[in-house]
């Protein structure tokens, strides 16, 4: 056999082998959950417990900016559960009639904080320090698609800082990108959720809560999505999130639990 055809036949055998693996029937049921990226750690943990309790179930995640996620669902993405970091996105989905009626729950709350990088030499103690001219770059989420960016926008406008700092704003695609820009020292400050800041506290110098009432309450709604592959499993996941077990995991990750979930 010529060396080339030898290589080719090995390659073909490999392909056949891989094909056999993928043809093996996956017996587990799957559900796909599109969730705000700020829920990443909490939801991954909740899903682990959910999978352990419900046998033969696999939970797949699609974390991102809530605005992007709702757009994907409206465009027909096969998603079973949607959890957003803002009421606006869930309201939009509900108005389109894509939420399983009665499945929605506003389950958790969060707060917005100002963060600065560990290695920063600038003195940034509070939001009004952002107007100092040494501060050149402030990261926030893109208000069009990122709820955290929308809250940040409200904070800056409410405190009448927006016009002074708007040239310094670096818009990120989701809230974890804001966190990353700050942690890497690429920007001088950023506005994220308290729960995000907690995941990289070691790389941050300051974590300052923004004044209460300077933005709409950060409320997380969750619901089963209409047209999902497995509606009963989707509902089961939603109830698992708002069960005492789910709530204790959320609390451990820094979220505040909402008692009146409607």
């Amino acid at each position: 056999m010529r060396p080339l055809s030898k290589a080719a036949s090995i390659f073909i055998m490999l392909l056949v082998f891989l094909g056999m693996i993928s043809l093996q029937k996956v017996s587990a049921q799957e559900i796909t959950i599109s969730a705000a990226i700020s829920l990443k750690e909490a939801f991954s943990e909740i899903a682990k417990h959910f999978e352990a309790r419900q046998k033969e179930v696999r939970v797949l995640f699609n974390f991102g900016a809530s605005g992007d996620l709702v757009r994907q669902i409206m465009a027909g993405a096969p998603v079973d559960v949607f959890a957003s970091a803002g009421l606006k996105e869930m309201d939009e989905l509900e108005q389109k009639g894509q939420v399983v009626s009665g499945s929605r729950a506003n389950f958790a709350e969060n707060t917005v904080v100002l963060i600065t990088p560990q290695q920063s030499s600038l003195k940034i103690e509070n939001l009004s320090d952002l107007t100092n001219k040494e501060v050149t770059r402030i990261a926030v989420g893109n208000p069009k698609t990122v709820p955290a960016g929308r809250y940040a926008d409200q904070v800056l406008r409410n405190l009448k800082l927006y016009d002074t700092v708007k040239e310094k704003l670096i818009l990120a695609e989701n809230v974890r990108q804001v966190l990353d820009y700050v942690a890497r020292g690429e920007v001088d400050a950023g506005l994220v959720y308290a729960t995000d800041a907690a995941t990289k506290a070691k790389e941050l110098k300051k974590i300052v809560p923004v004044p209460e009432g300077s933005h709409q309450p950060v409320v997380y709604p969750i619901a089963a999505v209409k047209g999902g592959k497995n509606e009963s499993l989707a509902k089961a996941f939603v109830s698992w999130v708002i069960s005492p077990e789910g709530e204790s995991i959320l609390r451990r990750h820094g979220f505040k639990i909402i008692t009146n979930k409607k």
């Binding site: 900016a65 605005g67 992007d68 757009r71 409206m74 290695q119 770059r137 893109n142 069009k144 698609t145 704003l169 670096i170 818009l171 990120a172 695609e173 890497r184 020292g185 690429e186 920007v187």
Partner: protein, 221 residues
């Protein structure tokens, strides 16, 4: 039409143009050296400069952050000295387009020069031309089709750069949102009618440049 879209189109052209000028200067020199000279590590350098062509732009973007970020190898020195960082500026978009599109120029230049009949080059030397004169009067003119093709491809690639640009220049409205990035944002926030205009704009601009390049090639050569 929306002024934001005009800005994005202008920025895209500006970035692609600046990147292409740098690419032609650097790419022709590099392609020439790789085609004509033998030196240690030649193939290694060739691979290094070709990698961005085959790597996903996000990987290239990652390397650029490691090198040019505020805490990157080069970026840190620059920031300590000047207080300036290339990240999130339109220069970063040029840098991203430059690195991603450069291999197209180098490879086409190298291939074009290597395919020139060596007798012609030898004749030039025999007739007393220096290396530089030979390059300018014989080699580059004979390779002109390849050089033009490389330039057009590089410009088109620079114009369409998305991944690496998003990572190093961000997507900042009014500053670094090139047309491809704007389309991404518009589609992400459901503004389909605006996205459609932007898509048409980019398609038309690209088609126009290809048409113009083809015509120039027919006329000039």
């Amino acid at each position: 039409m929306n002024t934001d879209l005009w800005f994005s189109l202008r920025l895209s052209l500006q970035v692609a143009f600046a990147a292409t000028v740098l690419i032609v200067l650097f790419g022709v020199a590099a392609g020439y050296l790789l085609a004509r000279k033998n030196f240690r590590g030649k193939e290694l350098i060739d691979i290094l400069f070709t990698l961005p062509l085959v790597l996903p732009p996000t990987v290239t973007g990652y390397y650029l952050i490691i090198l040019f970020g505020r805490n990157g190898w080069i970026g840190k020195v620059l920031y300590t000295w000047t207080g300036w960082s290339i990240m999130f500026t339109w220069y970063a978009a040029v840098l991203a387009s430059f690195v991603v599109a450069l291999p197209l120029m180098i490879r086409t230049t190298r291939a074009a020069i290597e395919s020139i009949d060596p007798h012609l080059i030898q004749a030039s030397f025999t007739l007393g031309h220096s290396e530089l004169e030979t390059a300018w009067k014989v080699i580059l003119p004979l390779a002109r089709r390849g050089l033009l093709a490389g330039t057009v491809l590089s410009f088109a690639r620079a114009m369409g750069e998305f991944g690496a640009t998003l990572m190093v220049a961000g997507n900042i409205p009014g500053k670094t949102n090139t047309l491809p990035l704007t389309i991404y944002t518009l589609a992400g926030s459901g503004e389909w009618s605006q996205a459609q205009i932007a898509v048409l704009l980019l398609t038309l601009a690209s088609a126009f440049f290809l048409f113009w390049a083809n015509r120039t090639a027919r006329k000039a050569f």
